[in-house]
């Protein structure tokens, strides 16, 4: 039975911080398909369009009928554990630091046998549940967990290397003055975060959300204005070595586009908060987080960007806002590459319209902030990299994959 993970102890100041190493990240082009599935939490394998044979490891030609149309399809995630081992010796530096490491060979219900990272509670001959998850290198791997998970499954140390569980970790929520900021603070509290740091800009402007945040046990407020380089640097000098999960929920929505409302000031503010804000946070908090990617079982692990669904396709009603979100999304991809050496995962969430004052004129469906916060925490626990929240965001993702022109024409309804 998986033992509960003891909470982190105070760090010995003379102990060298374990430097981040990554599991092998060399993958074929075909295998990147697994990564695409793992990034959004799907258990999908190549299934031959001709003969239905499920393929694993990924390939370009069906091993049964030699057909070359092998689309990715969700498949049964069950399986039976054929064999298991605890690896006690490894040449790879990442695993050397973490021995023993448990592996299993699973006969999947979908057909193929798969080598999988094996949760502690799985037993040879018994049923297991397979999942595709991103490992610390950012590539997909198979995980096998018991079909009936035990109470402490999330404390499985191997699983924690692949997920970004907030339990016993320290979180910085960049903006505590919005309803989403409050909901995030509550959700991280529920998820067992060790400390919750919450930023707030322009302290002279009141915010009911911030007043509620202030009352949450375990929350500490810090002045933080992402438009002010000094302010971000100052906070990074205080919290840089502590933040294990960064949640950039900066938010500045004003309606208007390029022709119907050309406003340089508003547009600049949007860019300053969404794009330059992310840049300031990345440049100041990124290095310390990247350096602490392997700092024990509770090291830095995740950078969450709360982006708009319109980061992916411009909604002219919020035209300049969408553009600033797209800029932030692009920078987040840069950040993802730059944080990768530390094993820090960048989770980009694409959120549909929130049920707040700035979406007053937008017809439903609109998302309650606590639902969004719950989905974000859940995605961290699962270790996802991209998350569409809400029907609008999900539809955008789907339609973009299908026909980007169609949604470009239709989005302004």
């Amino acid at each position: 039975m998986t033992a509960p993970l003891p909470p982190p102890r105070k760090k010995d100041p003379v102990e060298r911080t374990r430097q981040p190493t990554l599991p092998p990240g060399n993958r074929s082009r075909e295998a990147q398909g697994l990564t695409a599935m793992a990034a959004v939490g799907r258990f999908a394998l190549q299934v031959c369009a001709g003969c239905r044979q499920v393929q694993y490891p990924p390939r370009q030609v069906c091993a049964h009928c030699l057909g070359d149309d092998l689309p990715w399809r969700d498949v049964a995630a069950g399986g039976r554990l054929l064999a298991e081992t605890n690896v006690h010796a490894a040449n790879d530096l990442f695993f050397r630091d973490r021995l023993p490491w448990r592996l299993g060979l699973v006969q999947s219900d979908a057909g193929p046998s798969v080598v999988a990272h094996l949760a502690e509670d799985c037993r040879q001959g018994e049923r297991v549940r397979l999942s595709l998850d991103l490992d610390r290198s950012g590539h997909a791997v198979m995980n096998a967990q018991p079909e009936e998970p035990g109470p402490n499954l999330e404390d499985d140390v191997q699983l924690r290397e692949m997920t970004m569980n907030p339990k016993d970790r320290r979180v910085l929520i960049v903006n505590g003055k919005t309803a989403l900021g409050l909901a995030l603070a509550q959700a991280f509290k529920t998820a067992g975060a060790r400390e919750i740091f919450v930023g707030h800009a322009e302290p002279w402007k009141t915010s009911p959300a911030l007043e509620a945040v202030r009352k949450i046990d375990g929350v500490t407020l810090f002045p933080l204005d992402v438009t002010d380089t000094d302010s971000v640097q100052e906070l990074a000098s205080v919290l840089g070595g502590k933040v294990e999960i960064m949640v950039n929920n900066s938010y500045h929505l004003r309606p208007g586009g390029a022709v119907d409302r050309m406003d340089m000031n508003l547009s600049r503010e949007e860019m300053d908060i969404h794009y330059f804000g992310l840049l300031r946070l990345a440049g100041t908090f990124g290095p310390a987080m990247r350096g602490r990617g392997a700092d024990g079982d509770h090291g830095a692990c995740a950078w969450v960007n709360v982006l708009s669904a319109y980061a992916q396709i411009n909604n002219p009603t919020f035209g300049t806002y969408s553009a600033s979100q797209a800029a932030a999304r692009s920078l987040a991809q840069c950040l993802r590459a730059e944080l990768a050496p530390g094993g820090i995962r960048v989770l980009n969430t694409f959120v549909g319209p929130l049920d707040d004052e700035w979406h007053q004129m937008v017809p439903p469906p609109k998302l309650p902030p606590n639902m969004v916060a719950g989905r974000i925490v859940d995605a961290l626990k699962k270790g996802l990299e991209d998350l569409a929240v809400g029907a609008v965001a999900e539809e955008i993702a789907e339609r973009l994959a299908e026909n980007p022109k169609e949604i470009e024409r239709e989005i302004k309804s």
């Binding site: 302290p203 002279w204 002010d228 380089t229 302010s231 000031n265």
Partner: protein, 262 residues
């Protein structure tokens, strides 16, 4: 004691003794609050500073910064064009105001005691008349400066003192302004809070009366001053030039006061 021309006498006073130069300016830094407007309105940029180089790879010989801010940031000068009531007046912008108007006498009314007791304290005509009784009549073309010691509040939250119904900071009563213009011909109104109007002045019969009347009569504003406690009630000379911005509605200003010490 230097003798000779007027300027020599002035410099003699400044370099020798007799004239003290007092800095009435707040330091411009990122946490200097800017005036709060409803969020759907356009917003003034806060003061921001990005280093260009600091004797490093970006420029080994020099240290310098890029700045950005709204015209009405920190200690600043309000030009008549700032307000709708002054939009069509002649010589109403920072680049067209006759420069001699940037030098003027100052009358300082000490309201620190009542403002400490009531953040919504409003300076009335009656109070100014009481002040004149003690300190003499306000000379024409003088600044009327309202000292509240509000600038001693270093915490931006206390300084802005926002509540759900808006800011609570002292300022001039709406009836005082027309009197100052018509009866005393002041050059403008200065104070220590973030704007020349009181925090609650948006709720007045004429919203923001100080802005409305002063600028409508081609007079100026000088908010966010500090060190007013170092000035005598009468006699100081203020130097208040804004940057020469084309059609500027104001600008941050380094406001200095010359005070006779003998």
């Amino acid at each position: 004691m230097t003798t000779g021309g007027l300027l020599n006498q002035l410099m003699g006073g400044i370099l020798g003794s007799g004239i003290q130069v007092v800095d009435l300016t707040m330091t411009l830094q990122p946490d200097v609050p800017t005036i709060v407007m409803p969020p759907e309105f356009g917003q003034s940029w806060p003061f921001r500073m990005e280093e260009i180089s600091r004797y490093d790879h970006r420029g080994p010989f020099c240290y310098w910064n890029n700045l950005s801010c709204g015209e009405h940031t920190g200690t600043h000068f309000d030009a008549p064009i700032h307000w709708v009531s002054g939009k069509d007046l002649p010589e109403n912008a920072t680049d067209t105001i006759p420069v001699e108007k940037f030098l003027a006498h100052a009358c300082v009314v000490d309201c620190s005691a009542p403002a400490a007791a009531d953040p919504d304290y409003l300076l009335t005509q009656e109070a100014v008349e009481d002040w004149e009784a003690a300190n003499g009549k306000i000379p024409p073309r003088s600044w009327l400066l309202m000292r509240t010691d509000w600038s001693l509040k270093r915490d931006p939250v206390a300084y802005m003192n926002m509540a759900e119904d808006g800011a609570h900071t002292p300022g001039p009563h709406e009836d005082l302004i027309p009197w100052l213009i018509e009866e005393r011909d002041v050059i403008g109104f200065g104070c220590e809070a973030v704007g020349t109007d009181a925090g609650q002045a948006g709720h007045a019969n004429v919203p923001y009366p100080c802005h409305y009347h002063m600028h409508g009569n081609n007079r100026f504003g000088l908010p966010a001053l500090t060190n007013l406690d170092a000035l005598p009630p009468q006699g100081a000379v203020l130097i208040t030039p804004p940057l020469k911005i084309r059609q500027g509605s104001g600008s941050p200003a380094r406001v200095l006061a010359l005070v006779e010490t003998t």
